[in-house]
Symmetry: none
Subunit: 542 residues, 2 copies
Amino acid sequence: MTRERLFLYDTTLRDGQQTQGVQFSTDEKRKIAGVLDALGVDYIEGGWPGANPTDSAFFEAVPATRARMTAFGMTKRAGRSAENDEVLASVLNAGTAAVCLVGKTHDFHVSTALGITLEENVENIARSLAHVGGQGREALFDAEHFFDGWKANPAYALECLKAASDAGARWIVLCDTNGGTLPHEVGRIVGQVIAAGIPGERLGIHTHDDTGNAVAASLAAVEAGVRQVQGTLNGLGERCGNANLTTLIPTLLLKAPFAGRFETGVTPEALAGLTRASRLLDDILNRVPLKSAPYVGGSAFAHKAGLHASAILKDPSTYEHVRPETVGNTRIIPMSNQAGQSNLRRRLAEAGIEVDKDDPRLSTILEEVKAREAAGYAYDTAQASFELAARRVLGRIPRFFEVKRYRVTVERRKNKYDRMVTLSEAVVVVKVAGEKKLSVSESLDAEGNDRGPVNALSRALAKDLGPYQAYIDDMRLVDFKVRITDGGTEAVTRVIIDSADRSGRRWSTVGVSANIVDASFEALLDAVTWKLIRDGAPIHDA
Amino acid sequence: MTRERLFLYDTTLRDGQQTQGVQFSTDEKRKIAGVLDALGVDYIEGGWPGANPTDSAFFEAVPATRARMTAFGMTKRAGRSAENDEVLASVLNAGTAAVCLVGKTHDFHVSTALGITLEENVENIARSLAHVGGQGREALFDAEHFFDGWKANPAYALECLKAASDAGARWIVLCDTNGGTLPHEVGRIVGQVIAAGIPGERLGIHTHDDTGNAVAASLAAVEAGVRQVQGTLNGLGERCGNANLTTLIPTLLLKAPFAGRFETGVTPEALAGLTRASRLLDDILNRVPLKSAPYVGGSAFAHKAGLHASAILKDPSTYEHVRPETVGNTRIIPMSNQAGQSNLRRRLAEAGIEVDKDDPRLSTILEEVKAREAAGYAYDTAQASFELAARRVLGRIPRFFEVKRYRVTVERRKNKYDRMVTLSEAVVVVKVAGEKKLSVSESLDAEGNDRGPVNALSRALAKDLGPYQAYIDDMRLVDFKVRITDGGTEAVTRVIIDSADRSGRRWSTVGVSANIVDASFEALLDAVTWKLIRDGAPIHDA
């Protein structure tokens, strides 16, 4: 049986940007586009060129993607031609292969929000979409408030869709903009639109989660015939978010009646990278991953109930509707650390640490890691620190040097020109190869501006490590993430530091403390120690 | 038209307890029962008496509730009578008005997980439910894995339901235990069960969110005829959680085709307490409320997109599917670089700052906000700092005091017991009412542990502000968030501080700098200044 093509349209970079608290930088947008492209979506909506400096900068140097890069904008305004609408011109000037224009289809909005006649609105839609097609671009019409519009005035809503369709739009996207339409209504109305003459192969669905039904409504629309599904990674988006593609993709690929019915751009290998993609997005945005997220959440395959856990050991299909590895997630059985131990051995082997299958220290490492995670450490990302934690239990960690003490001072006061300036200074005292070394550093960048206490500390620590200096001279601190997290009884600060060296190698370390300076120093120390081990530095008595 | 009775069954205290990371104390269970009872659910499933010490203690002193308190347990085991099964006896001994017993209905589980014959299982169900009824209790049968069971062997699954029904169970609850059944299948199968002779008035639905469809599947079941809906507050529960009652209740009461069709125990007044109930649960469990939660989330009625915000100002129904006040939530029009002047004026008016519609300073404020957001500030959360930024442009900000300088020191060294300890100390120098004041603070909590440089700074700043001291004495720092973000050309640190005072008021401020200490100090200063303005502190020349 030939499989029908189902298209996935991602709007993380546009509608996802409307999430409260989310503010992408241009660089973050580029990184996210890369994540989406690797996942295999068909369209990446990059933003609205001209609407804000970040989006404009993104489209000035659009990353090359396999997916069709799409610029978002709105249909031309009344009283001017499509050619002379400068808002529309900015969108087209971005030069993307596809252009999606939002327009009204609900009569109430045309009069209330736009304040123009119903005819003018239809004309704006037709002219704008024709203009996009005339420029050789793939045109998409985003029918805002379509479901409410259809409920209020189906003839007019349909007239708007037909205007876009007749003007050559490749896709007509039915939007439930305020998220208020329930799934069975979405399914019914999509059926009626198809019956009215717009084929499902030209229809898309765009839903929001205001009743917790964005995913179900999208599935109902696919059941009814639409062949483009819009959404965002991790369900980012305005108010309660958009339809969550991280949930929809595995459902469409793995679950009856959808599994096997459609061809999409997502390969089984890409699907197995879904959990990683979801975490990567959270990482870029410095958000805490939602544990209960379907398929990709840290709890999605965690079997806490005793009855469940014992049945899972007999046969995982007893309590799992899909296999966790198909989406790159892992099963967690808190009751038994059987599964945990084989996992751990694999991770250690990856780091070049071989441990015997029956070594009792395996369970000691597991307990240590669990205890530290409960205290706020995060070893999922900080691989290098995980490795060091395991080595400590195994007694395979050399003591290259000893930190005797350190002190950081941040002082803000007036300079001689009567301007307030800040200066950070750090002193680190280490004992290395029998010798005590005091190092002091300020924190000033090339322009003479202060870069803060952690920077000063990092410089002082790496300033003079005696015989080890040659090993760490090419180390750079490339990223620094801070999060306030739960440390058991009190809030603590977790610092994750990414380091790199000339060889292009990157590694991550973690530190946790109520004091951000201490947490940072712990992560810095781990970063140095990891590199000394990896590069086989000799041991001198501290 | 007579409205049909729809029953709400809450399992927060039983299935919600299976949430990874959630561990109720007996006292917490009592508090949550109170929240549920005030909301107006019909049944509160309190736990499994005998399964663990917490649940047993809860049932030893069950709180008095209007809702029917229900004990959960499992059908008797094979090879003994219902009267002689001590697990079942513990459940009945709790003395609750209602008892819900889980049993298998999926043939595969009967053989694989229980290892008994299909007939024995049917017998266990019948005898157990009859025993509950014989004790004068309301009996409920929780049909585990029912949907998978029906798909595999409908005749057997139905036989199990009928056994419970014939034994006098008031309710037969159809469970999608592994969360894998999609809404349309749930609707179809419920219809088939009703057609096979078990009336909808005796059927309940219990779903899980493993495909993000728990709410939709519950609604599909209600559409198909079930008259009891099970779920948890905030969607707590095993793996991805149970059907979220916080979402289902307003949908059933406010949204077509359900609104007005059913009588439930939830009054409009209780519904208006829904957001508070949701936050209260998070508060009891020390969880961060999910901003994107439907109806009750902090972002559920936040309109960030500029186009949306301006339409909302004309008519809220343009972008809101229900009115926020019906569920006790509030509309938020955050500031962001997407927002326009109309939304700005509205924000200012809410803060008591009236600005004329044609005042040219409106666009100056907007540009200032945009420029600061490009530099790393985030005003959609930090409303108090936004307000101060606007006041600065408008020249409506008093200078209560002047910070002359400050210094923070973090020192880590050995104490007299040869243990490494950290001490943070801050000195702040201000000029207030013509007087220079030097304040110094350490940062130690009740146990004598260091809480870091920001804590020390906050204490020193709030130690002696002369005539303003009385205004800020009741201020507390309640949350502190840090992220590294893009500050234009370089990475900067953004700090957001939440403050509160005795009146219960909470406000958020933001600071940005390459130096985390400076960023924190900026946010702290804003927090103090905002409170002085709001509380009408008099101005003394700095």
